[in-house]
């Protein structure tokens, strides 16, 4: 079907799922953005937890290396890091594969995007989680040690549950950053929500329709996330005394 010129179409048709609408493209981009953010956040959380414990209880070399990692990542713009890692990660993986005698592979853009954002997220999460661990009352950890609890059990039973309420506000902010950072992948040509919006609006010239819709989607994620994190924090603080100003 041949579409009439975009200027003759209503905003609703343009955003719809019909042959002349871009709804499917936008929604596909939105899904991509969400999946990348979720993946990067999850991997970043693993980096963050192990990094935070490493920074506090690790050996001297581990501490120094982690300090270098968090400092560099937080001092260099995400866009530059993404670009460097975008070339470096696949090259590194292929080097390893070639070294092991396998064929080189083409890493899907999606996975590269997730890994790259996870490396960035990890550095910030280390700092948030480290602060949260430091805010756990020292006596609790000492008591557990005095009972002869092994380190992993101590982390699982004492440190992690007690630090949750301190970490949630910071982790919530980082989740919002993760969703917004997915937009940076548009610069390297990955079709997430921002790129999809750009394509749709550049083709139809209906800039405000598409940017309005995409901004509403981003706002929806962040408002819903803020609500969820507020509930999580309330839940994790149950049983704690109310803070009075």
């Amino acid at each position: 079907m041949v579409c009439p010129p975009p200027a003759q179409l209503s905003s609703l048709t343009l955003l719809g799922f019909g042959d002349c609408g871009w709804g499917a493209t936008l929604l596909w981009g939105f899904g991509n953005s969400l999946m990348i953010a979720l993946g990067a956040y999850a991997i970043g959380f693993c980096i963050g937890v192990s990094g935070a414990f490493g920074k506090l209880y690790g050996g001297p070399v581990a501490k120094d290396l982690l300090a270098v990692y968090t400092t560099i990542v937080r001092a260099v713009p995400e866009l530059v890091l993404i670009l460097i890692l975008y070339y470096a990660v696949p090259a590194l993986i292929n080097q390893v594969l070639l070294g092991l005698g396998y064929e080189r592979i083409n890493l899907p853009q999606f996975i590269t995007g997730v890994v790259v954002l996870a490396v960035v997220q990890g550095a910030y999460q280390i700092e948030v989680l480290r602060g949260a661990i430091l805010a756990v009352p020292q006596g609790q950890i000492e008591a557990a040690r005095a009972m002869g609890m092994p380190p992993v059990m101590l982390a699982r039973r004492i440190t992690l549950p007690l630090m949750t309420s301190n970490a949630i506000p910071g982790l919530g902010n980082l989740w919002l950053n993760a969703t917004k950072d997915t937009a940076l992948l548009a610069v390297i040509g990955f079709t997430e929500l921002t790129k999809a919006t750009f394509q749709a609006s550049a083709t139809t010239k209906a800039f405000f329709t598409f940017y309005g819709a995409a901004m509403a989607l981003y706002m929806a994620i962040s408002l819903i996330s803020i609500l969820i994190f507020a509930r999580l924090e309330k839940r994790s603080r149950r049983g704690q005394r109310e803070q009075r100003a």
């Binding site: 120094d64 001092a75 260099v76 713009p77 997915t182 940076l184 919006t197 800039f207 901004m215 706002m219």
Partner: protein, 258 residues
Amino acid sequence: MRDFLNLRRVIMIGIAVGLVAWCAYALRWDWLANPKYQSMMLRGLWQTIWMLVVTMVIGFALAIPIGFVQAAGPRWLAWPARVFCSVIRGTPLLMQIWLLYYGIGSLFPSIPWIRDSAMWPILRQAWPYAVLALSLSVAGYEGEVLRGAFKSVPHGQLEAARAMGMPRFTLFRRIWLPQAIQRVLPTIGGETVLQLKSTPLISTITIMEIYDVAGRVRRDTLVVYEPLLLLALTYMIITAMIVLLFKWFESRFPSKVA
């Protein structure tokens, strides 16, 4: 110093120096000698720093009223300010930049009196949109911080000023604003670093700042990593300078907050 430089650190620094030496020796740096790229890099650096300073100043100036009306303004002013802050903080900066540049930028040519006005040669360029987008971003984030700062100024201070018969504007200028700014001073350094890290986004709307220069060098010479590594190093140096500057700046102000 003794504590910092033990054997392990010396070895690590040695490894780092070795890495840098390897980079300098094994990678391609011949493009650095090209005077064309040298002047491009200097201009890019200037553009980045200029953008950073201008947008921080404009953004902070906008953030003061935005924060104030949220803390103490009437509801019909507080609500729009609130919505503004949420939208700025809830959507990606890249999208805001593109909306302003492509959206509003495409709207202007269709309005005759703007096309004919003296402003048109300026509005045709990209930098006004970049300055606007980056300033609004600072205003949104810092406005939220200032809202808390205005609220946290002790009531007694304001009541005392009122009891002395101070006019409302003098009260704001002499009592309320200075104490609020004193509270946000420590956050401005961090905000400046964040803003520096946002500046590469404006290269997507054809502004030739330092990130864009690195991209051009890469396209011209087909060198993949080297310009990016130098770029990362440049950003780290600028970040370090900002951090040191604000440390010095803060040490000059008494930071006694009740």
